[in-house]
């Protein structure tokens, strides 16, 4: 439908260098008015940098090349200028203020004024109007922290509309969303297209890109590889992957023959209450087990209580423990602190590696040993050589891309950071690893490697729990999958029984299914 539409934006020969790194070299991007244009590429390909150049985060003059927007050259020197021109970027990490209301957030920095004072009445009215446009039905006075991440995303988009957006840029909009919220967001984008809003979408979720975009520009190593016309060229996921990695990935999951042993870890009748509102139960009578060498999946919607379950088991690091028992190798163990959990061979790789998984000030070697300093210290005194050797061994084993283990973790890409986090927990010699969204925000190639690592861990006889919001990932990786809904385990499926429809059904129903 948009083949003959006028060109809204053209970026020509954009080159952007950082000290020592050429992040973009001669990148070209042509976006037609009224289309949804996806930008794909592995982490580090330069997608976000390109968008920062476009939105003026990197001001005119710090890059070379031309931007033509609405037919005339654009030279933005800051975000404000690009926003005034109708280019609004919504970042992966949402820029909302948790303690302010929806209305306040929508108009932050853009407050409607009347005689100098903020006109809250008009703001409220406009907010309701904007919220209706994005399909958000909430009280506009609700605080951001009280709504889920899916709705927060909608608030961000409403905020963009408040600025009279012509070109909406979404950086990984569905990364933190569950399937239902993602679907809603994608429908919303389709609606915008019908109303003539142009969108640029950066995403790792190829199925979404395939489903929604009109054209796709693929970047690799800071260069434009190609631009695909989705409708015309008959593009599918494999085609996109080939462009991104420069080769065909024969399978999204490494081949693996599980070697499953006895049940060695069991949780019985686990009850946990919310840390602040004590009447809210986040884990309700949950029981499950893990066998040696088994990869067990936990499927559920965002907010189903999977992370809460995992963290409460991991040394009561979440919520208020009420009752429940944990058995390991047939004996009951009490895990009252994270240190207890680590000593008993548990490891928890958190879903948010930047916020709670890593100290971003650390380098690779300090991060690797951080959860078990006792292994490299004698009477509390650290041995630098042992530390270095241990970190180096994991760097090689996991093929973490970094010149040395002296490299700061903040400088690594998402996939490599995740490998450091995995190394950190492998270093603790765990028997059971709980991996919470282990591939979130990681590109296809790195995902494949992470899957391989998970399978190797299982082959060593460890139990692995994988919590994931991507159903194909769970189905492709896990030997057995539990479904969780509103703090209850609602089902248990063997690999052969697991298909997206059945899982989805169990993930959205309170009715407890018969377990095997």
């Amino acid at each position: 439908m948009t083949t003959n539409a006028p060109i809204l934006l053209e970026m020509r020969d954009i080159t952007k260098e950082f000290p020592g790194v050429k992040a973009l070299s001669d990148v070209n991007l042509v976006v037609k008015a009224g289309e949804i244009h996806a930008i794909c590429g592995e982490n580090g390909a330069g997608k976000s940098t390109l968008m920062k150049v476009l939105s003026g985060v990197y001001p005119y003059g710090t890059y070379s090349g031309d931007i033509v927007y609405q037919g005339s050259p654009a030279r933005f020197s800051d975000i404000r200028q690009s926003e005034n021109a109708g280019i609004v970027i919504i970042h992966q990490e949402l820029a909302l203020i948790p303690d302010m209301s929806i209305t306040e957030n929508i108009f932050l920095g853009n407050e409607p004024r009347r005689r100098g004072a903020i006109d809250w009445k008009s703001a409220q009215r406009q907010a309701l109007d904007l919220m209706a446009r994005v399909g958000l039905s909430e009280d506009p006075d609700t605080l951001i922290k009280d709504i889920g991440v899916g709705k927060q995303q909608l608030v961000e988009i409403a905020k963009a509309f408040a600025k009279d957006v012509k070109l909406l840029i979404l950086d990984e909009p569905t990364a933190a969303l569950n399937e239902a919220d993602s679907q809603h967001l994608l429908d919303l984008l389709r609606g915008f297209r019908e109303r003539g809003v142009t969108s640029i979408m950066i995403s790792h979720k190829l199925n979404e890109i395939e489903a929604i975009s009109d054209s796709i520009t693929i970047l690799r190593d800071g260069k434009t590889v190609e631009t695909l016309d989705v409708r015309g060229d008959g593009v599918d996921e494999d085609r996109i992957v080939r462009g991104m990695v420069g080769r065909e990935l024969s399978s999204r999951f490494p081949d693996h023959t599980p070697n499953i042993g006895e049940v060695f870890f069991e949780v019985r009748d686990w009850n946990v209450r919310h840390p602040i509102s004590a009447d809210r139960q986040v884990c309700k009578h949950e029981s499950f087990n893990v066998r040696k060498g088994e990869i067990v999946g936990f499927a559920g919607l965002m907010g189903a209580g999977r992370t809460e379950l995992a963290m409460s088991i991991f040394g009561r690091s979440y919520g208020v423990f009420e009752s429940g028992q944990i058995f390991k190798d047939g004996k009951e163990i009490k895990l009252k602190s994270v240190a207890d959990a680590i000593d008993n061979g548990l490891a928890y790789v958190s879903e948010d590696r930047k916020a709670i998984g890593l100290n971003l000030l650390d380098d690779i070697k300090t991060s690797t040993v951080a959860a078990k300093l006792s292994k490299i210290s004698h009477h509390g005194v650290l041995n630098e050589v042992e530390e270095y050797d241990a970190a180096e061994a994991y760097r090689k084993e996991l093929r973490t891309k970094a010149p040395t283990v002296d490299e700061g973790v903040s400088k690594l890409s998402g996939g490599n950071q995740q490998k450091v986090v995995l190394a950190k927990w492998m270093f603790t010699d765990p028997d059971l690893l709980i991996l919470d969204e282990p591939t979130r925000g990681i590109d296809v190639g790195a995902k494949y490697e992470i899957y391989g690592i998970i399978q190797r861990l299982a082959d060593q006889g460890k139990g692995v729990i994988v919590i994931s919001s991507e159903l194909p990932e769970l189905i492709g990786l896990c030997d057995r999958i539990y479904t969780v809904f509103e703090g209850q385990i609602t089902g248990e499926l063997a690999r052969e029984q697991a298909d997206p429809e059945t899982l989805m059904k169990q993930m959205t129903s309170t009715k407890k299914m018969q377990t095997r």
Binding site: G44, A45, A339, L360, D362, G380, P403, E407, G408
Partner: protein, 441 residues
């Protein structure tokens, strides 16, 4: 040029802890030489006759600042853990008056009185640590309250009077290494101390090279190591001779000795032990530290308690030096200690900083203070200049970091484990911009 770059990299941004310490000392030396030149110029005499490097001035510099530097050690750990302690001056004053009273009124022998003082510090620290670690009141508030509380307690106990302390006690603040052995024209113990320091420098450099080799990592080029050792040893010999060759009866001060011992102990603790690393982990990302099994409350309690113990020691040294405890002791010490830590490269948001950096930061302020006084600049203008130096030093560092350029203070004082990479790594989409997130100090 490449040779110079090589030198700069290895001296300032190299991969061993010694490299950085050397860089810091280098900066300090530059400031000292500046004032040496200015004071000589002022008097119209040769460079060698400037006032800054005279024996008596160096000795006084150490004696007058040892207690601030002791506070800076504790403050560094507090700030790295992500807190602040505003109460140190008041804690010092309260301990000082109680210790003075214990000797004057209850006739405690002075060694017992010192232990008594440290115990007071521990109790005060436990009190403050309790509120910070176990109740979760921000340290800023707890210690602001403490600042009022212990200041008031000092004046309540002492009736706002001054209480003198006995001679034996005065030695910890005003005493020197005694004269022993043959008459060499120098203080023999100070010479021995200097010799030990030189040997330690050489040993550490060799040790650092060995460690790098054991890691199969490239140690700094040999000529850099030798150059570094040579300069360090030369500085140490010069300083030793100055301290040892002053007026008869003066030498290296006892308070300086206490300081050196504390720097070595705490430097080792923060750098080389699991406990020390936990402090950095808590300050860098407390949630991540907690999920790695670090006992958050215990770490926070420890740093607050430790700070108060060091504050009580600083208070006693000050009382000893001024021969009496008074109601105005320790006023605004917290600010000097905090300034030293930030000039020394610590981050406002925690997680970054070193003991040696803070000591150099403190010495920079001390030399500045001393040099300006020698030049006859009034205390009003000294304060203005010190304030501006603090602001500019940190601002320059923040600016340089935000531009992704070589950060002077940061690279001089970043701890051994926060090495700059030698070359850029594969970067993520968002990771290839200059880091803006670390608030520089």
């Amino acid at each position: 040029m490449s040779r110079f770059k090589d030198l700069q990299k290895n001296l300032f941004g190299g991969t061993t802890s010694n490299a950085r310490q050397f860089g810091m000392i280098f900066t300090l030396v530059a400031i000292v030489l500046l004032f040496q030149f200015l004071t000589a110029n002022n008097l119209g005499v040769g460079f060698g006759d400037g006032l800054t490097l005279r024996s008596d001035n160096l000795i006084a510099l150490f004696q007058q600042n040892s207690y601030i530097l002791i506070l800076a050690i504790g403050m560094l750990m507090v700030i790295v853990a992500g807190h602040i302690d505003l109460s140190v001056g008041s804690v010092a004053a309260f301990t000082g008056i109680l210790v003075a009273k214990s000797m004057a009124d209850w006739s405690l022998p002075w060694p017992v009185a010192i232990l008594f003082g440290l115990a007071i510090g521990a109790v005060i620290g436990a009190w403050q640590g309790f509120w910070v670690a176990y109740v979760g009141v921000p340290a800023f508030i707890v210690t602001l309250a403490g600042m009022l509380l212990w200041r008031g307690a000092n004046q309540y106990v002492g009736n706002a009077d001054t209480i003198p302390v006995p001679k034996g006690f005065q030695d910890i603040g005003a005493g020197f290494l005694p004269e022993v052995g043959p008459d060499t024209g120098y203080n023999n113990l100070t010479l021995l101390l200097g010799l030990a320091a030189c040997l330690a420098v050489v040993w550490r450099e060799l040790q650092a090279r060995k460690t790098r080799k054991d890691m199969n990592a490239e140690p700094a080029p040999l000529w850099v190591s030798i150059f570094r050792m040579a300069v360090m040893v030369a500085v140490l010999i010069f300083v030793t001779l100055r301290f040892a060759g002053g007026r008869v009866g003066t030498s290296f001060p006892i308070s300086g000795l206490i300081l050196v011992a504390l720097v070595l102990i705490y430097g080792f603790y923060t750098r080389n032990t699991a406990g020390g690393r936990h402090i950095y982990a808590v300050g860098g990302n407390s949630r991540a530290a907690e999920l790695s099994g670090v006992k958050l409350k215990r770490v926070n309690f420890f740093v607050m308690m430790n700070m108060s113990i060091l504050a009580s020691l600083a208070g006693m040294i000050f009382v000893a030096r001024s021969a009496a405890s008074g109601p105005q002791d320790g006023l605004s010490w917290e600010l000097d200690a905090i300034a030293a830590v930030f000039i020394g490269g610590a981050a406002v948001s925690g997680g970054i900083g070193t003991i040696s950096g803070s000591i150099v930061g403190g010495l920079v302020m001390a030399v500045l203070n001393n040099g300006l006084q020698l030049l006859g600049v009034g205390s009003d203008r000294v304060q203005i200049i010190k304030g501006l130096v603090l602001l500019l030093a940190v601002a320059l560092d923040v600016y340089n970091k935000s531009q992704g350029r070589f950060s002077i203070i940061g690279s001089l004082t970043r701890p051994f484990r926060r090495d700059e990479p030698s070359k850029p790594a594969p970067t993520s989409d968002t990771g290839n911009e200059p880091a803006k997130t670390t608030v520089a100090g």
